[in-house]
Symmetry: C2
Subunit: 489 residues, 2 copies
Amino acid sequence: MLTDWVKMKMPEEEEIKERIKKAQDAMESRQLALKEHGLPVIVLLEGWGAAGKGSMIGKLIRNLDPRFFKVLTPGAPSEEEKRRPFLYRYFTGIPQQGKILFMDGGWIEQVTREMLQEELPDQDYRQRIQSIRVFERQLSDNGYLLIKCFLQVDKKEQKKRLSELQEDKDTSWRVREFDLWQNKHYDRCLEAYDRCLRDTDLDCAPWYIIDAEQRKWAELQLLETLLGRIDTALKNQEIAVPIRQNPFPLKEVPKLSEIRLDQELSREDYKKELDKYQKELSELHNRLYRKKVPVVIVYEGWDAAGKGGNIKRLTEALDPRGYEVHPIASPEPHEKARHYLWRFWKRLPKTGHVAIFDRSWYGRVMVERVEGFCSENEWQRAFHEMNEFEKELDDWGAVIIKFWVQIDKDTQLERFREREETPEKRWKITEEDWRNREKWDSYETAVNEMLEKTSTEFAPWHILESDNKYYARIKALRIVTGALKKKLD
Amino acid sequence: MLTDWVKMKMPEEEEIKERIKKAQDAMESRQLALKEHGLPVIVLLEGWGAAGKGSMIGKLIRNLDPRFFKVLTPGAPSEEEKRRPFLYRYFTGIPQQGKILFMDGGWIEQVTREMLQEELPDQDYRQRIQSIRVFERQLSDNGYLLIKCFLQVDKKEQKKRLSELQEDKDTSWRVREFDLWQNKHYDRCLEAYDRCLRDTDLDCAPWYIIDAEQRKWAELQLLETLLGRIDTALKNQEIAVPIRQNPFPLKEVPKLSEIRLDQELSREDYKKELDKYQKELSELHNRLYRKKVPVVIVYEGWDAAGKGGNIKRLTEALDPRGYEVHPIASPEPHEKARHYLWRFWKRLPKTGHVAIFDRSWYGRVMVERVEGFCSENEWQRAFHEMNEFEKELDDWGAVIIKFWVQIDKDTQLERFREREETPEKRWKITEEDWRNREKWDSYETAVNEMLEKTSTEFAPWHILESDNKYYARIKALRIVTGALKKKLD
């Protein structure tokens, strides 16, 4: 890619100037088209130290309105970011619809640096690449335009620039240790970049190598690349996205109609078991905090199935400084304007912490599917995307536990009525609950498909039979403590 | 406060048990009342190491629904937080209306630790206290209920608890160096706590000293304190808030009608000046980055006054990695549900960075006042609150520059028409702009009062006469470079 790269012939100065002017005008008008089409754009500039990423971004945004873009300079990950999955800082940074994000370095910079300086084991490198590929494809599938450019300068030119920067006291602070190291080990770095670029050269997000030796020429290449990609994306926005095949081995889960709900557990036995498991969980929470294991627990289930009470029996045993419950309602405007997994990425726990989701990303294939809040293509794609998301968490070292809290239709009716008749509980029942109940069959179809297609080996679904709430609570505790023990031992 | 504190008599065990049960039930029903009244609550638990803050929070939330509360454990500030004003981490953490935030330690922990371990100079200590007092009063004035409890244990009890924790391998990691240090220097720490508590004992947010030697008794005191305060707050929600007197010396600003708008500047002179100032600004940006000076620039002005073009002439000279423009539109739901300054605290720059606000917190006393989006009491209070906010930034070391971009009514009309007639500019003009124009006089009254009441010595308003856009741009550049030079020299 880089090692066999052939420079394009540079046009005459006059021509460059003219073409830049034309491209700038075009970019200015494109920002409005992006807004109107709701197209989000990520422009990732990677390249050598002193290749001019920062000043190129300065030029690109010159004619844009601040309402339409943002600039991100990720730099080295902070301590907080290091306690999250590799992609966390990039996924949480994605722009809203209609906006352009310019990135001054990103995942390539991070991975090559880790390779070169921290001696990333090959297996970890491959995992990083896999994460990046999934990330880029998911963005693209979900309507993001990702434009990736690598600013190339040769060893001599880089050295010259670094010296110039160092000589001026106003700019010498810009030269980082790593830049100098890079120039000294140019060939080794070139190979590392080449490998990274090859490994992340996707159909939906190919690499553009920009000849950055001459600044005006580099600017023109960038501008024209951006314009070309934006125009294509605007034209192709309506093209259907392929549904990916599921490459993850799945576990079998029963259909809802096959689930028995006649479990018995006396109040006395419940109290005993509850006490036993909560003590155990409390100790496990301590251990996973010390071992920095992150835990993600998902609750899905029918209205009034008893999710809240079930979650409470878990949290009673947890140190409040080490867990958070995330009740998931419909997304806010700034959430709706991004990839549907964005708001869940934002809520991921730190290592050693527990995040409990009271409803989750699975809303995509339940309420959003049934109510038509997303297209058929979107929810069909979502099964695989959510598996990929959970795979990321698994690779990161997280324990993932997913519960479907099941009750039958009569039990729901009983509980709805009880809620309506008990003043302190009335807030828990709304018109919407009754409307959802009318769509029980559509939901059942959706849930069955969800259970079938997203019960992977690394994140299987567990059924909590909750006509008997005691039984469901103890079963949840048993599964959680079991999973944690397995991870910790 | 602490040094002369007299313990309350502890009731009998049986009585404690009964009262706890009653209080727990009451808390459970209160969470709904909070939601219905939209009352946000912050419960700050401070106290000695091993006094049981964490486990008390665990008990308090036991009977609450996760939809209604959050737990925050601030700990020591992160590197990112250290590059923001002292209050940043606390202000950005405030809860939404109807929710309770439980804080496991907070500003008192931070300040006493700084005093004891980092030898905070007395002047800095006093500034911290002033910040805290303003913060707490502002929260209270803006409808927040702040409940502050200090968990008190004596030296002997603390020692006993620390030893117990240390002896058990599952809990020994919880004992921090600072806790041990604290116990060794108990008397010195007691004095520091005492001073801090005295200095922050406000009418609107008094301190409650909780006897934490016996856990059940501590829980009861906490529960009953919370309930008492919540019930009072729910009853008093409609009570009018006093308008504070402005203690900051103000600079004189002309009334809008007195501003002359006939400035002349030829295109040629403009180009020359622009070039000169942009070069200077570019160098200054470099220097302030190195010296870690934060800069906050505010643009307010009539629609079509030329704010966008003016901002662009600044940003052209800035390194895109070191500034951000924040276009401010109407708040999103999660923003509206908090203190109106919250979304601006969130957008504060890091040290060494520049934040440019295209419209700002002053919306409170312009659009929100004129359109009736806030009450008269609210916008009247806002003048002083915004001065206090800017004082925080000034104390932090920020350069604050505020521009009012002025044009006359005829010029606006001309520019509106031009926008409508130019296809690329048409998106910039909306029905709302025409509606606002009809309210020109109401806005003029509001703007005059704003300029008069918020032009402090540390953050004065500057008028940019913008009938001639060239003139306004050069003036802005002159003021910005001037202010930066003054700060840096």
